[in-house]
Symmetry: none
Subunit: 207 residues, 2 copies
DNA sequence: CCCGGTATTGGACCGAAGGACAGGTAACAG
DNA sequence: CTGTTACCTGTCCTTCGGTCCAATACCGGG
């Protein structure tokens, strides 16, 4: 398995050499020429055209292209998904220690995906929500409430004021407050803000 | 690295034994007892409570739990994301060949994710839409604001009170209100509720 | 029949939120 | 120099949100 880094010679980090002593450093066009299933390519992010390169490297022609991993100096979940979506099998910080790079190489060479636990959580979380998984969590929350409380909670979570909810349900604003109080206790939130955040997606930051 | 299959003895497939001759077959409660970082657990999907089991196995107490892989007789992308979201590191067809299972074990043991190319494409696709699509809209909103307004807006959208935002940014609560007022005008929302809904996802119901 | 949960409402109280009005500085374009 | 814009602060004032302490009524299980 040949290792090649796609970047300028000057941008090559010593730790990469450390991880793969036999690695070569090539430019984009040359990388495309030698892309094959026997090659592991490491693309260092610069500019915004890297997804194109990754895509080309990963699916050379009809069959299996190179095994592509993306290295970023400022990793984030959006970039990670973008990389995976383009066909990369690995995504990590460009300054990751050599041992980690070796591990990535091992994993990706065996049809695995390597992304790093915290980023993976976000990537998967995104997919989970996108595929309707969040509905289940939402239901799980809501079924701990009574009918009325549920109705109030949903209405509030849609951005309605207490008064508006009262009109909607044909009850007093006072009663809305009572139900809402119960909802707060049961779902363990402080106020309607936290409720909205809890019911929409799970990423509230406790102050 | 110990291999354990979580299923009834009768449900154990010969090919699993082939892949891991030393594997044990245990029930759920026993699996939970012996879950640790040195254990690789294979959960065979049956019923609809498996995500709970996976979650418990994967994050045993505070630290690292077992390495969990999920085997399904009817794999699909929703189930795959659900598995990953629950903390599983692998997801494959229950009738996968022994070599593939070994490969999965290798990959997952090294912090990798193994899902299978075609399913991975769908999972990532979902994440891409979820993270990419919404982010763009969100950015579009925010770049109509000044630096300070943006900072206030996101802080509020995370559920912070005016006072908390003031502390966070090192300014007066009054100033927070001023910026927030500007944000409301520019984004055409009535209050912080609508702001949260507008910035988190696009589904506010105008009353 | 009593107890507990649900649904409803009342009043009072206090803090948070948001608007109105009025200032201040600093930077920058015309 | 003047007008504009971002940024920061202040004082009122009103409304909204949330909690505490009540009360009444229904309904089902022990």
């Amino acid at each position: 398995m040949k290792q090649i880094f796609v970047c300028r010679e000057s941008a090559l980090m010593p730790r990469w050499r450390e991880a793969f002593p036999d690695a070569r450093c090539v430019d984009e066009s040359f990388a495309l020429e030698m892309a094959s299933a026997e090659v592991q390519a490491w693309v260092v992010i610069q500019g915004d055209t890297w997804p194109v390169l990754v895509r080309q490297l990963a699916q050379q022609g009809a069959q299996q292209g190179a095994i592509v991993s993306v290295l970023s100096y400022a990793p984030d979940s959006r970039e990670a998904t973008q990389a995976l979506e383009a066909g990369a099998r690995g995504y990590a910080h460009a300054l990751s220690p050599p041992e980690l790079l070796s591990q990535m190489a091992l994993v990706t060479a065996h049809q695995g995906i390597w992304v790093g636990p915290e980023l993976m959580a976000q990537v998967v979380g995104g997919a989970y929500r996108a595929l309707g998984g969040e509905e289940r969590l939402r239901e799980e929350m809501l079924d701990r409430l009574t009918q009325r409380e549920r109705a109030v909670a949903v209405a509030v979570a849609e951005g309605n004021s207490n008064k508006a909810v009262a009109r909607l349900l044909g009850i007093t604003e006072r009663t809305v407050k009572a139900h809402l109080g119960a909802v707060f206790r049961k779902l363990e939130v402080r106020d309607r803000m936290q409720l909205v955040l809890k019911l929409s997606h799970q990423e509230q930051s406790v102050t």
